[in-house]
Symmetry: C2
Amino acid sequence: MRKVAVVGVAQTKFSGSQEKTEVELFAEAATEAIQASNLKPKDIQAAFVGNVLGDFSEGQGTVQAFAVENIGCFNIPTNRYEGACASASMAVRDAFMWVASGFYDIVLAGGVERAATMGTALATRTFAMFSDSRYEFPSGITFPGVFAMLAHLYAAKYNIPIKKLKEQMAIVSVQSYKYGMHNPRAHLRKEVKVEDVLKSFMVATPLQLHDCCPFSDGAAAVILAPEDVAKKLTNKPVYIIGAGQASSGPLVSQGDYLPRIKARELSSKRAYDMAGVGPKDINLCELHDCFSIASILAAEGMGFFEFGKAGEAWEKGEAAIGGKVAINPSGGLKSKGHPIGATGAGQVYEIVKQLRGEVEPGRLVEGAKIGMTDTLGGDATTVVNMILRKGW
Amino acid sequence: MRKVAVVGVAQTKFSGSQEKTEVELFAEAATEAIQASNLKPKDIQAAFVGNVLGDFSEGQGTVQAFAVENIGCFNIPTNRYEGACASASMAVRDAFMWVASGFYDIVLAGGVERAATMGTALATRTFAMFSDSRYEFPSGITFPGVFAMLAHLYAAKYNIPIKKLKEQMAIVSVQSYKYGMHNPRAHLRKEVKVEDVLKSFMVATPLQLHDCCPFSDGAAAVILAPEDVAKKLTNKPVYIIGAGQASSGPLVSQGDYLPRIKARELSSKRAYDMAGVGPKDINLCELHDCFSIASILAAEGMGFFEFGKAGEAWEKGEAAIGGKVAINPSGGLKSKGHPIGATGAGQVYEIVKQLRGEVEPGRLVEGAKIGMTDTLGGDATTVVNMILRKGW
């Protein structure tokens, strides 16, 4: 297997409802990524695209074929991946394998979504179809409700008073908003304090508005190449040294205690094993904070903090820049935004830019060598983790 | 790259509207494929699933995660592929690469759809979103109209009187119905004569009812393994020796003459080149006859017959069993049926069963050594071709 590097990345601003089509949004990210890689569209040999709601948001299925043709990549193979929020991460992981295997030398991977354009109510209702249609959807629950229940179960398991957990969750959100203030491509850029979180309106108890990420419009793209090609294209190659994925299926498959997502524990282990590193080696991580409680569960599931202790870690600054592991210096889904089928590629974008030292002061993780992504599709349905290392 | 074999295949009966969910339909095919491969669910290391309309037909997105957990394949990576009708072929091709690369030893690939359950009117309208939302969908055209136009353009290009072309197309359909009569897993099993086709109601001139394939419910699954593993599991391994894919994007990207689909010509060339064979070496082909005219275009695009001559070839029996290349001995999409996201895996099922000599008399291609699949997603959007060879 060949070493695979990311040679160029790009991301649109993640935003609320805007006027570009998915084809146009993808073009913005993909074209910039191709240019950043010192390549032309004709150099791209295959393209892998994550997209979840395109059929619903603008009546365009199989968007990848139109998006790729639109940027001048003619008659190449292109796949659409759908694994709920993990879609773009699936796309990047598959692209990684096609390059690692020696079959393709230059592959474009990314994702695009117009979730904000749908409006929160319709997007929430539509996206609920990505929970289990047998046992979850018919109960009337949507994802905020699922994660609210996980918060209660987590609090009970570790004897954390719900008031205390709410404060910890608020700190998670406040940190994300803080970093997002320094990210010009973030969707929600504003200063939010703990008391603002606790005063914001209740979405699904104990989760309040500022515990929940927005639906966003946006696209992100990355270009992958094998080591020898990468070295010709950039003097700052970032290698994908580990990639893991697992699907648990319905949340109920987790057994007696739902908040420990087996798919994440297995996926991150697979990524660590491939990379030959462990949680202590990770300098920064973009993880799937669709809700503030989700950050806590993810950070524990990947092994950054002891189970039941991640909230404390955020309180102590251990999840901040300068702490044990810098979590979501982009602002995360909470502030940077969550264009569902593009989110995983947006995480790779952030890690690569961080490892290259190319992000704004105020959110730069100085000296970072190894970064990790974590994308959760559905509730426990699918997790993809990737580990990237600076290669110069 | 390792040699990759299909070690077991299964397909549900393709049918009209039925009561099983997609998770249940997929289970039927996948479980049978696993058993046919002398494996257990725990042996499956990854699963790749094609599905197009599940969000619409039964309100279940990201169906792959639930489908795979349901059959006892716990916590493995699983992707959903959406490339319109080519979805399952994408899934099989990606699975092929993961095995060829040495990363996984045993992978499940397939597809599932409940297109018939939606009803023809709703499925037609919904599936029209898989044409170009910029230039095609807004015109009000749906796929029958697109292929009707291609038929007129084809007739004009090669100076074939439309009455003559209609007779040739009728012969294409009659042959498919004839073979489908011998296929217990086919959706539409009835004797249809040329005059029946020409008397059937007009869908989009010149295409009549019997020129058009049905929407079907169904699932298909295949198990892939590298040569050494395959030899332990079966004494009849069928190798995937070539796999090509290409996306042209919108139909208008074909340039001045729309019916020659560049994606197909490139995709099949890529498959031939990888396999080291040409059109003359293919004993049988399952090709994408969503409409009778589509059979003619596909057979020419893959190089089986001269451009403008495929209709004559069908008239002379050159596309029949015993002719130059046996086309659609399963009954094809016309008779076997078209469960959109499962169709490509159903084609692989048929080729494998044929090469093993395990199909019913009346449609067996005796002595066949090399078979080919051809799946068209959208109008010109995406084509996937695979070439398989018996390996004993």
